[in-house]
Symmetry: none
Subunit: 137 residues, 4 copies
DNA sequence: GTGGTCTAGACCACC
DNA sequence: GTGGTCTAGACCACG
């Protein structure tokens, strides 16, 4: 599992890490029980402070995505969280609206945007083609 | 043009304003040449500091969405920015991937997510049904 | 003498007018005794408030470039001002430095920039080829 | 990197800061990757409000000259902006025309003005001899 | 420590 | 009235 981090990105580094891990879970590239790299390993790999990685893991654990077992390591949670549907749906609906607004400003149509989603579906399961880029404004 | 702002939202207030204005442009509710409320006026309406509105306007101007004329007011730009297509497409593709990842984590399918987009299309042109909510990570 | 004004320009409108008139004098297209358009005429031509034109004329008169004769009109001054050399030279030296800095940032060389000046020399006497554009930042 | 600011100058303080930094980049005294003083630090040095410095930095970032990294500092951009050549050339050509018009009004010749540029070239790489002066109209 | 945001209030220039 | 600038001080999030 290769992560990439961009310190100039508007999104905090620990959130970039969280996002990549949750996306990997969503895409099925990480499964319940899979072991994650330790803080130390990951922080060396990404050339960032170990505390930053720890914060990402802590938050992911609080959200129920991963479990830390002292002395053994960190693993993708056996029972992934079932998020409150009502709340989640509102958030997703808004995220969809934002995506579409961006697309319209760029001159794309609804159909174009749907195609983006279909491409995204392939990317998610294979891992991103293009590593990581700037958070859109 | 009715804006709504939520100070406890994770997204900064000036960004909430920016987003609502760009979405209004994307949805066709604001057109080139339309006059925006002055930053003082809007700040009273929203019960926030004038500088906060001004910051939103400044950034929108830097991005090319609006034009300000000293002593006269602020207007939707006559020539809306044509952003670099290549760069734009990458950003949109990533935004699509993030949306889909969120949706999958919530248990939705690709088809469900496409339906979200279709609903968003209606919202964009009419104005958002639900005012404003938290920025999802 | 055709003037052009851009309300979106950072430079105030009255200053845009002042600049174009002084440039015309510098280039020899306006000579001592030449008659300028009246406030009224010019404000109609440019579609701006008469007060704005008046302010430009007032300032030019205060600087000694033009003379207003009540009931007769406004004329290019018979004795154009001789500006304080010492002060003027410092200002020019700085203006030159700013021009060169801009040019360097754009990738031009000193020689390129000198060529710009030579072209400008021709433009000044003939009137600008390209009407008027944004004040550079 | 020593900056100097003049609050009574017609040019806003934040612009004076912007100009000095871009000129330092143009003259090669600041290079990609160099770290700038934090806006707090600089504001103490210059005895102005931190927000004023921040505004200068924000604008420079929007223009692509510098990058900020939360918690780490502000750096000269690794990829300095390559501005649209066509547009840039028009702006430079106008700036040259304005400089020359000023020079002519002061009684200088084309040759004199070219010499000003040559002097400016030396100043730019060494840092300005004369600190800062009034924006000429 | 860094940058990011927000406030309340001031003064100026322009139209 | 409009936008443009600046201040002094506050609180937060990040690394």
């Amino acid at each position: 599992m290769q992560l990439i981090v961009n310190p100039s990105d508007e999104l905090p580094i620990y959130r970039q890490i969280m996002r990549q891990i949750t996306e990997a879970i969503a895409g099925g590239r990480l499964k319940s029980g899979d072991r994650l790299a330790s803080h130390r390993e990951l922080s060396e790999q990404l050339v960032i402070a170990p505390l930053t990685v720890k914060k990402a893991y802590d938050e992911l654990e609080a959200l129920g995505y991963i479990d830390t077992q002292r002395g053994r390591g960190t693993f993708v949670s056996a029972h992934l969280p079932e998020i409150d549907r009502a709340d989640q749906t509102i958030q997703l609906q808004e995220a969809a609206r934002r995506l579409l607004a961006q697309a319209y400003l760029a001159g794309l149509s609804l159909a174009d945007t749907i195609n983006l989603l279909k491409t995204a579906d392939r990317e998610l399961t294979d891992g991103p083609a293009v590593p990581q880029a700037k958070e859109s404004a």
